[in-house]
Amino acid sequence: MKSHKWFTPWLLVAPGVIWVLVFGLWPFFNTVVLSFTNARPLQAGRFIGLENYARIGSDEQFGYALTTSLIYMVVCIPLLTILPLLVALLVEKTIPWITFFRTTFYFPVIASVVVVALIWSWLFDTKGLINGALEAMGVVDNPVPFLVDRWWLLITAILLTVWKGLGYYMVVYLAALGNSNKELHEAAALDGAGAFQRFLTVTLPAVRGAMVLIMALVAVSALRVFTELQVLSNGTGGPGGQSMSLVMLIKTVGSGLTGNVGYASALSVVLFLITALPLLAIAWMNREKEAKA
């Protein structure tokens, strides 16, 4: 039986659909078009074919940015797949005060990256707490250039990302662990399986799905890194901009009155192609999940 006028559902979904079209799909379409032009913020630009893409190949800055983003991804994936699982196992059981710990471990997630990066740049300053501790323990004689060296800057930023991401992925694991079979755990324990053995045979298979999902999520968010490097390097992107990420490069190239919108768009398309792989993996997984439900 008909419970509503034909246009009612369309009226209800209209805002969502319009927003996706205007602020999602249109800008994407526009980005692809602009990437074949020499557009500037104040002029429309004309078609220049693949010139922008040809330029990417010989752009030294792009090489640095791609290296930075890929290293970010490769280092973050194992760290943010394994560490949050261990934290989740730590807070999984409902023992007294556990809600307090779960909530506390989530605080870094809700904090702005800008705020955390400002705290970090104070902790990792040449006169900061970390260098103070290292010198007091006699590990180093001179302060470590955490915020001004190309590679140290990258390491410091990755540490920030991992510290901030722990709570988020912990919650994803908690949801997966909540669905895992308690009886199986008990049966394994009765059969004399040790804690480590139970982890391998019961826990790991239960969270395998979540693990794959997290790997893809971490990969994408690592490729999108911007704020950590921007704030830690004070907007410079490290010495000679060598620690810039892809997004930082896009922002630097494309914004401002003299920005090269065409070239920035070509860089954006390349970024899209790189992030598409892990994203497609997520979409594929979601479809499988929905089919099961």
């Binding site: 969502g16 799909l25 980005t31 705290i119 104070w122 006169k127 709570g167 490729l223 994203l279």
Partner: protein, 311 residues
Amino acid sequence: MTTTVEETPQSIEIAARAVKPKKVKEPAYRRKGSSDFLKPTLGGLIVRYVLLAIMTVIVVGPLIFQLATSFKGPLDDIYNFPPSLIPTDPTFQNYVRVQDFIPIYLYAWHSLLVAVGTVITNAAFATFGGYALGCMEFKGKKIVWGILLSTMLLPGEVTITSQFLTIKAFGLADTLWGVFLPGAVGAMNVMLIATACRAIPQDMLAAATIDGATTWQRIQHMVWPNIKGMVSVVAIFSFIGAWDDFLWPLIVLSDPAKYTLTVGMAFLSGNFADPRLVAAGTMIALVPIVILFSVMQKHFFAGVEEGAVKG
């Protein structure tokens, strides 16, 4: 374990316990000879709490250290090691003096405006759209779902350059409206509410329709109570997302008088600023959302169990 009015062994046991004055308090750990294998042993429990304490120090240590620094006066040596958490020259002056560098409370007001606007539009439009997608049958539903899903393949950073051109074409460059508008309706939020709506029994809605309930009445009386939890998750995430966002307002806003908190804060860093002032600034940005989250955390973790954070 659920307790019902029926006479189950549990309810009898509970009744028996209620009669007996002696309260048997279950320990949180496993006693020797107990078969409750899912409980840790006493030793295991102690190790667990020690690890939890270490994690707590790693997680909140930097935040507490920053909080302490923000209350340290000019006579406190903030560079010595080991550091002290208790200021010897405690002061609130840093929260005043930080305004010499940036109008931080004005920036916080801007962020609040954007964040509250984002919460209202997302909660409202996600509820409407989610209801239509979750509970109604109509032609083209699959297409709508596909359009919403397509945004998951599109990281916002990819479209940021031309997104700015769109906002400029609307005449909203360098305004808070321009910061707010693209995030006003999140496709992800619509899909989250749609998933929550699907859990509502269709028969119930059909019965209400037969009784003459309008769409609006069904949303108000039958759908809303069922999706309240998920809507509060959407609201929390919308607020935090808008309050914390950095790249987009950085691109939209060029006039320092219009900055949001994160953009203004980034200009607070640099070697010239006193770390005590930067610390005060970070606390102004951090404390509101920590309080908001602590108050709402029950809804949040309940929403997690419904699967809110999975995608």
